[in-house]
């Protein structure tokens, strides 16, 4: 009933939420990432997730938060994100002012996992404020209030980072990078990816899942031959969902695997050819 109401209208939820009961978000391990993360967690070492778009970084973290039973606070960083947006600010309240904690402060206090997605995008001042949080001090200074918050013992900072030649001008400083334990994500292997697809898209024919994966694997070869971002697992899930929703496979493939990836006419033609090769007979 509750979920039905949630579906009928958007629901306000506090950003710090204890994980739901149940099995938690589905995640298919690709390697040792779970072990590494758990070890880092035990020692409360900050973690950096590296990897291309849509390969499962966010999903992995949701899964881990659930597994460890910690709330997860996610912040998507953008170029206008200031340190105040993370730490908090004073607000007016009638005749007086009140301090409102930002998401990072909330997480630090609540002992949540704080996930700063695409941290490179944020302004440099916001990357600097996480420094004292990431070493042995584990403190968050609140300059405006003239105090420091000692992090809850369960607090963990996680950032994501998508290396690529696009980010040359905007790389993380080595001094920042060094403060993290890094887990490298790649696109999953064919079997794993097919399994993910079948799990994510209910009722997807296994043969079709295998075909979609084959498309993605061939399309990924074109990365750096004009394609900046290869077809992600996420876009495969989209393609599968469109097919499950009744769209003819080739059209679904085009909508999810070709058109969003490139505006380059020849490249799109080549991708379309690959999509057709695998899905026309499906």
């Amino acid at each position: 009933m509750r979920s039905l109401i949630d579906r009928l209208r958007g629901v306000e939820r506090d950003i710090v939420q204890a994980p739901d009961a149940g099995t938690g978000p589905y995640y298919e391990p690709q390697g040792t990432e779970i072990a590494v993360f758990e070890a880092a967690w035990r020692r409360r070492l900050p973690v950096m997730l590296k990897g291309p778009t849509g390969c499962g970084k966010t999903r992995f973290l949701e899964h881990m938060a659930h597994r460890l039973g910690r709330p997860l606070v996610s912040v998507s960083c953008h170029e206008d994100l200031t340190s105040a947006d993370l730490v908090g600010r004073f607000l007016l309240d009638g005749e007086s002012t009140v301090w409102q904690d930002g998401p990072l402060t909330r997480a630090v206090k609540a002992g949540a996992i704080c996930y700063l997605d695409e941290i490179v995008e944020a302004r440099t001042d916001s990357t600097v404020i996480i420094h004292p949080l990431t070493d042995h001090r584990r403190r968050l200074p609140l300059e405006k209030r003239g105090l420091e918050i000692e992090a809850h013992e369960d607090f963990l900072l996680v950032i994501s980072y998508n290396p690529g030649y696009q980010t040359v001008l905007k790389d993380l400083k080595p001094s920042t990078k060094q403060r993290f334990v890094a887990i490298e994500f790649r696109y999953p292997s064919a079997e794993v990816e097919a399994r993910i697809l079948q799990n994510e898209v209910e009722g997807l024919d296994p043969a079709l899942a295998a075909r979609l994966v084959a498309i993605a694997r061939q399309a990924r070869v074109l990365k750096d031959h004009g394609l900046d971002e290869a077809s992600s697992t996420r876009s495969l899930v989209y393609a599968g969902s469109l097919i499950a929703a009744g769209l003819p496979p080739v059209e679904a493939g085009e909508a999810a695997l070709v058109n969003p990836l490139t505006d380059d006419v020849e490249l799109a033609m080549a991708l379309r050819e690959i999509v057709k090769a695998h899905l026309l007979a499906a």
């Binding site: 004073f90 002012t97 001008l169 905007k170 790649r186 075909r211 694997r217 031959h225 490249l267 050819e273």
Partner: protein, 832 residues
């Protein structure tokens, strides 16, 4: 003048008797054949002969001698006599007249008398404009002109020619023979564009134009390719390469196989490059053929190891190699003597089946596509082979259960030798009819070709694993590049053509994109002259220390200018430029005002600042009232300096054989400059070259402060390669020049085609690599991001060490460079 024909004839006979013995004799000999046509006609004929003789002895004699034959074969003496009189109206007509008389019987036979007369009139008109053109016209076989469509066929060619002659003054005689061939090859609709192109080229240069109309030279190939019917490979090369790369994980170099229309569009290979026809009938056939042949490369038809075993199986110890270390197949097929074609086709059938099965596993529509294409069964003996091929495809498509030899070929360990063994078994069965060369081509299914037409470079070990995108560099292993003959240095050594600098000395491996055995050693021509150039330190990795003031950089101006070349390049890349501009206007132009926060004045309140202000006031502080927000157009804060490697190697022929590397480089720089003009970022362009540590030249082409002018354009157009690549010193100097930019973010783009090297590095590659790495590091310390774009396909091997991961890019297709350079910059910039 007497009216009686007999008298007139007698007069002519007498006149000629006095004038010329030969003419008189010829007239006398011809008269009996003419007289049956009537006295009046004969008199008129004789007068014409005399008049022609008087105008031009050769013309007259030719007329008189040809007449008996014409009177006999054509009749209609009046008609051709009158027409021959037309040749009296201009001088030097004998050649045209002779050709006319010789061509007339055929014209009448092909076109009929009435149209033959129109043919004659047209030729006469040509001859009046230019006697030589008239001769060419009449010498052209009428059957070729008509192409079986009578006078309509003649007009197909003549009308566009006349049109062009009138509009552009195109000499018709020059274009006619080519035009006939072009129509035969490409159909009448191709004539117009071809002729117009020719007229343009002729205007640009007489010799080029003439070569064009002789269907020779690059201009002609290009123009013909552009009007070729069907799916033109040159236009879709990138598409085809992308599909093969995606499907099979390898993208072999494609090279044109030359223009051939009307024959089967076969692909040939030398084991490295695929030689593709200029056009395929359809897109599907092109895709099928390309995937199939890339499949041969991918699945071991030309693998070293398989070839070795094949020759052992065939009873030969070693594959015979030619001078170029290529395997020649002739001895292999010679084993089958007269009947070798039958075996060759069977061998190809088996091997094609094996390869298509493998390709099918990666591209599930490959076999269905081949089946669709194999619709038209050829007649004659080829049909049986065609059927066998189709049967194989049906097995692969699962319509027929595989059996016998085909099942063996489907085994996972089947290879080239399996195909040989199975083909030999089929051959011995002898169920298929013998073939001759004419039938052979038809025996191949569309998309397939004879596999052993050229000697091949055996391919190194075959990777049997499917392409693993995760493998990273592994799957991008560069294809061995087609054998490009090393540029012959005699007479065209760019090093020798640069006058103002001392350019003596042998190049050794210096200045070439690919490493070659080191020949140069550290020898210094002169001692360092104090004060010449700017001194820079250089890092010596062996000593782990800087050598002080080791390299000297001198700024020099480039003296060559070539605005014509620049214009031509811009014209050639106009579509790309147009696309770039459109994209820039749509996305890159900073028309979006960006809010500036915490201003002391502005049009709206900055809420955060206002709250802070109020809070501060409450706490008793006296903050400055910076509580406004203002919208301003974003100030550009990115500056880029493009540093181009101008070493000798850029003068090499491009690997694909068309043009030189430097031409793409020029085009890339031009497009880069124009794109940046559009974007409005601060930018500079400079080149560098070096010869010894004390003579590093830095050529500023456009400075930050300057505008892009036609002068800049001409400098870019006149770029040429010289000397070697001392990259570290150039980078250090470029960093100094960055001082002018005054931008917050600084990007140093280095465009190179090879590794850092100089004449005096003693063959120690690592020395300048390490120095360059240090220079990049120094730049980073100054807040300058260095990024390298290289044309060297093996660049990934050393650039990661020098520039760091993600700070370089290998552009493996030279043709892509002009298009990609601006895009790469914009992408880098957007990242910030």
């Amino acid at each position: 003048m007497t009216q009686d024909p007999g008298v007139r004839l007698a007069l002519v006979v007498n006149e000629l008797k006095e004038l010329s013995f030969v003419a008189h004799r010829d007239l006398g000999a011809a008269l009996p054949s003419l007289e049956p046509h009537g006295a009046e006609t004969t008199a008129r004929w004789a007068e014409t002969g005399r008049d022609l003789f008087l105008q031009d002895r050769d013309g007259g004699k030719a007329f008189l001698r040809a007449s008996p034959g014409l009177a006999r074969d054509v009749g209609a003496v009046d008609v051709w006599t009158e027409q021959a009189r037309g040749f009296l109206t201009f001088r030097g007509s004998w050649k045209a007249l002779t050709a006319y008389l010789a061509g007339l019987p055929e014209a009448v036979r092909v076109l009929g008398l009435e149209d033959a007369r129109r043919w004659g009139e047209t030729g006469l008109a040509w001859a009046r404009r230019h006697p030589e053109a008239g001769a060419i016209f009449f010498q052209t076989p009428v059957a070729d002109l008509a192409a079986g469509r009578g006078f309509a066929g003649v007009r197909e060619i003549l009308d566009p020619l006349a049109d062009l002659a009138a509009r552009y003054g195109l000499p018709e005689g020059l274009a006619l023979p080519g035009a006939i061939k072009v129509r035969a090859l490409l159909g009448p609709q191709a004539l117009g564009p071809w002729l117009r192109r020719g007229a343009d080229i002729l205007k640009a240069g007489r010799l080029r134009g003439e070569a064009f109309f002789r269907l020779e030279g690059p201009d002609s190939d290009e123009a013909l390719t552009a009007v070729l019917p069907g799916f033109r490979t040159a236009e879709h090369e990138r598409f085809l390469a992308l599909v093969t790369r995606a499907a099979l994980g390898l993208a072999p170099a494609l090279a044109p196989r030359g223009l051939a229309v009307g024959v089967r569009p076969f692909i040939e290979t030398d084991g490295r490059t695929l030689f593709v026809p200029s056009a395929f009938p359809t897109r599907e056939q092109a895709l099928a053929a390309l995937l199939h042949h890339a499949g041969h490369l991918r699945f071991g038809t030309y693998g070293q190891e398989a070839i070795d075993r094949l020759f052992i199986e065939a009873g030969m110890a070693h594959p015979p190699l030619d001078a170029d270390q290529r395997v020649t197949w002739r001895p292999l097929f010679a084993l089958f003597g007269e009947d070798l074609l039958r075996f060759q086709v069977l061998f190809d059938l088996c091997e094609d089946f094996r390869v298509d099965a493998r390709v099918q596993a990666l591209m599930p529509n490959h076999v269905p596509r081949l089946l669709d294409l194999a619709a038209a069964r050829p007649k004659g003996p080829a049909g049986a082979y065609f059927d066998l091929g189709r049967l194989g495809l049906q097995m692969l498509a699962g319509q027929v259960a595989p059996a016998g030899p085909w099942a063996a070929l489907l085994a996972p360990d089947a290879d080239l030798v399996t195909s040989w063994v199975q083909a030999r078994a089929l051959y011995r069965e002898g169920a298929l009819p013998p073939l001759d060369l004419a039938d052979r081509d038809a025996a191949y299914l569309p998309g397939r070709s004879p596999n052993h037409e050229r000697p091949v470079y055996p391919r190194p070990a075959v990777r049997d694993a499917p392409p693993e995108p995760e493998a990273g560099a592994g799957s991008d292993a560069p294809e061995p590049v087609a054998a490009t003959p090393a540029p012959v240095s005699a007479g065209h050594d760019p090093d020798m053509e640069i006058p103002p600098e001392d350019t003596s000395g042998s190049g050794g491996r210096v200045g070439v994109g690919r490493p070659q055995p080191a020949a140069a050693t550290a020898r210094y021509r002169r001692t360092l002259v104090a004060g010449e150039g700017t001194p820079y330190p250089e890092w010596d990795y062996r000593e782990k220390t800087y050598r002080r003031d080791w390299a000297r950089v001198t700024e020099r101006d480039l003296t060559e200018r070539d605005s014509a070349c620049a214009q031509e390049l811009l014209a050639r890349h106009a579509p790309v430029l147009r696309r770039l501009r459109r994209a820039l206007q749509a996305a890159e132009k900073p028309r979006r005002p960006v809010p500036q926060r915490r201003q002391s004045e502005g049009e709206e309140l900055d809420l955060d600042a206002a709250v802070d202000y109020v809070v501060d006031r409450r706490t008793g502080a006296r903050p400055a009232p910076r509580v406004y927000r203002r919208r301003r157009f974003l100030r550009r804060d990115t500056g880029v300096l493009l540093l181009a490697d101008l070493s000798t190697s850029i003068m090499q022929q491009a690997a694909d054989g068309t043009g030189r590397v430097v031409d793409r480089l020029k085009a890339a720089l031009l497009l880069f400059a124009l794109s940046l003009e559009e974007v409005g970022d601060a930018y500079a362009i400079a080149g560098f070259a070096s010869k010894y540590r004390d003579a590093v030249s830095y050529y500023p082409i456009k400075d930050f402060g300057r505008r892009f002018t036609s002068e800049t354009e001409a400098i870019l157009g006149g770029l040429s390669g010289r000397l070697a690549t001392r990259m570290g010193a150039a980078i250090r100097h470029a960093c100094v020049r960055f001082g002018e930019a005054g931008t917050a973010r600084r990007l140093l783009l280095i465009l190179s085609d090879g590794r850092p090297a100089d004449y005096d590095d003693g063959g120690d590659e690592r020395y300048l690599h390490e120095d360059t790495r240090m220079a990049v590091k120094e730049a980073a310390d100054q807040g300058i991001h260095a990024f390298c774009i290289t044309l060297d396909a093996s660049g990934a091997a050393y650039l990661e060490r020098i520039f760091g991961r993600g700070h370089f890019l290998v552009v493996d297709r030279l043709d892509d460079l002009p298009r990609r350079l601006p895009q790469i910059y914009l992408k880098l910039r957007r990242g910030g």
